[in-house]
Symmetry: C2
Subunit: 503 residues, 2 copies
Amino acid sequence: MSTASRIRCADLNDRIMSAKEAAALIPNGVNVGMSGFTGAGYPKAIPQALADHIREQREQGTEYKIGVFTGASTAPELDGVLSEVNGMSFRIPYQSDPIGRKNINEGRMDYMDVHLSHLGPDVAAGFYGKISVAVIEVVGITEEGHLIPSSSVGNNKTWVDVADKVIIEVNHGQPAGLEGMHDIYQEDFLPPHRKPIPVLKPEDRVGTPYIKCPKEKIAAIVETNSTDRNSSFSEPDEASKQIAQNILQFFDDEIKAGRLPKELLPIQSGVGNIANAVLAGLNDGPYKNLTSYTEVLQDGMLEMLKSGTLKMASCTSFSLSPEANQELAENIEEYKDRIMLRQQEVSNHPEVIRRLGIIAMNGMIEADIYGNVNSTHVMGTRVMNGIGGSGDFARNGYLSIFMTPSLAKGGAISTIVPMVSHVDHTEHDVQVIVTEQGLADLRGLCPRKRALEVINKCAHPDYRDRLLDYFERATKNGRGQHTPHNLAEALSWHENFEETGKM
Amino acid sequence: MSTASRIRCADLNDRIMSAKEAAALIPNGVNVGMSGFTGAGYPKAIPQALADHIREQREQGTEYKIGVFTGASTAPELDGVLSEVNGMSFRIPYQSDPIGRKNINEGRMDYMDVHLSHLGPDVAAGFYGKISVAVIEVVGITEEGHLIPSSSVGNNKTWVDVADKVIIEVNHGQPAGLEGMHDIYQEDFLPPHRKPIPVLKPEDRVGTPYIKCPKEKIAAIVETNSTDRNSSFSEPDEASKQIAQNILQFFDDEIKAGRLPKELLPIQSGVGNIANAVLAGLNDGPYKNLTSYTEVLQDGMLEMLKSGTLKMASCTSFSLSPEANQELAENIEEYKDRIMLRQQEVSNHPEVIRRLGIIAMNGMIEADIYGNVNSTHVMGTRVMNGIGGSGDFARNGYLSIFMTPSLAKGGAISTIVPMVSHVDHTEHDVQVIVTEQGLADLRGLCPRKRALEVINKCAHPDYRDRLLDYFERATKNGRGQHTPHNLAEALSWHENFEETGKM
């Protein structure tokens, strides 16, 4: 497709430049708001040019770092290249890049892990200082100079609103047919003048299909031509399939008990192989005309849309394998009315999530016997990725389900432990825990009863007796019997792992 | 006031009976939804009659227990008398009775601690089984048989909606002038047909001043005549006053930085002496025409309403000293337009809290150096009261502030610890921690920087060096540097306390 058909606003032609020239517009020390959410819609060229610039500056003896704000995780072309040159002094709100992770966990990069629904409003409120520059991938620019978002929306509206300078990447490699799939809510996100967000059903349109941007803010336009870099999903393994079966059985039981309608309620699903297996299970089940109100549309949801199991999906981003990406691109007109991409304040907004009654399904690193969940930290100290939107959905949804295989590292780790080494979801926020062993329904149970439910239903048999032993001794140690613990021993399983390589 | 003027629906006169007769309508083993929130508006006569009945039954060899669901804490006449006979098999969602606490922590009573905004909708969804009976204090019954709530609303609408049998206490000791102060939202609280709650300002009325109840559900009416039993507040001590000063200074700074308007945003405040000191500080400050959107209206807020510092307050309950109660009763017509009592799903609803941009100020038991907060557990095992609405407000508010004196038990306990022994508010939900030592502003800080901020600003000097030593050694132990911890030692301060009586 030609430049003219993507950049329809002729006034802006004089801003077209190379990635290197555009990167030079980003000064040392500033905060930059970049597009990108779960490996979709991130800028492909400018971060690399900036990384080159940082390396050159450093070779000349000048330290050069920026703060990077995104929607969520990006890809090697953004987090990878900037992490490689250790070019980020601060990173927020979610990242999954292996080099970035190493920089964080070795103390070379400051990282802050926040709820995805919170960041945009908190930046707009000024809680994170000034965001000087926005770097945003789009599929095109309208006649009026408005930005047509790409394969994710994330925080792009906020970055454009708050930045002084907006740098655009127009990516010819993204399907032009994405135009029209976005819904950008235009009301103010700052109190005291906020209004109700009028989303009453997942499919409700409440905004415009583009991001408004004053032309004079656009400092540079860089043209690119490459697809999002997403890896393929692996075929679900036995544990993932069993987890999916356990959840489907639970849904059946809830429908029979009159606690869920037969078309369920809008589903939210985290990303990854287990989530994909659950979606595949739903797709194979008796369901029709389900809806989804979620962050990320992954392969499993596209399959469900194709089969008619899913009527429509609202999200803020795609996260598709190359094969699914091709399926979407080739049939985009058929999907257009059934997929909506919103900014993440809205896709993850507590107001909408509570109103719609979302069924929240998220992965986790570990859970403890009392129902506290760790989604972020390995052995209490090393961050894996981040909390993402799991808190937005688990806290405010109709049902909050957390899932993981019961073992990790070939059995060296039990994902059910006496006490989690980090808490991201408290005992007050976790209703259901699922492993391939079974499903623990914690609703209505006091902590002591939860412990037996979690141990007996979810723990792997290799660790079950030790967990029961811990619990029984804790109930006899003369301390509080609301949440029995032996504090001196509560984190010893993690300490064992650090010392010996197994729990 | 006469019976006729309180019970205006003559059809119901035949349901008037004694508390003993009414209590006999509550079968063994059922769940009962009772009114009551922070010591206000709880039934005064039936729980005592029921406790007597339970004692008699037990003397005859029949075990007799019920599940008790309320709004929040009640008073000796409810939680006290039923705890004394160990008559509750299950208690939810918040309780502060000393005998009840002992029963829970010694394993004789199952207790579940949930977010106050969640309980009503979750009960309506059927997650807690059947609620058979509702026992509700009211100030009167209208001509149509509708219930005029008393000094709290709590979950009363839900209990009336879901119960088969409704037992009413008409309390002649509550001011008749409470009529008209309540606002009961009538829309459905179950998905998928929920609508936006049209509260755009704290003062917006969105419902009716009474709870609708089909007359045929009313199984009994008992007349009582006694006031809510609330204790007086003590004069703020020096630590409380200093905490208040630190928060007021923070507000000033935020106004100067353009992050808060000069009339602030609607305030929420927990209950207790520290909260009252903060309110007294606000009342002495330069503020005019503030608003409040909170759970509980306590003495400090009544003072602020009187002085004009506060324009109006929306809450779900009063919690007033006898003196303040008298002030309210004597001048109720003047307060009527400026105080609104809503059901707790609405007073604590994430949708409204996020929209209005509440400033959430809550007490805590302890915080750790990384900003995790424990609001509920003493030394990780013994529950104190419960999380109450602190999570509803902290997670969804504009600012989340947690406060406590830096020492407890005469210095034997540091309220700033290496790792909290229980997490109720995660690192993702805590923006500001305040003690009398100072205020730690955690916004925009990675965990390592938070640790130094919390230790240097909030910890008591007696513990500061040990905290710094822990943190420094944790940063050098070769483990993850995102959230440095020595796991074997992280809970040792609590273990020390259990073993030696000091941390």
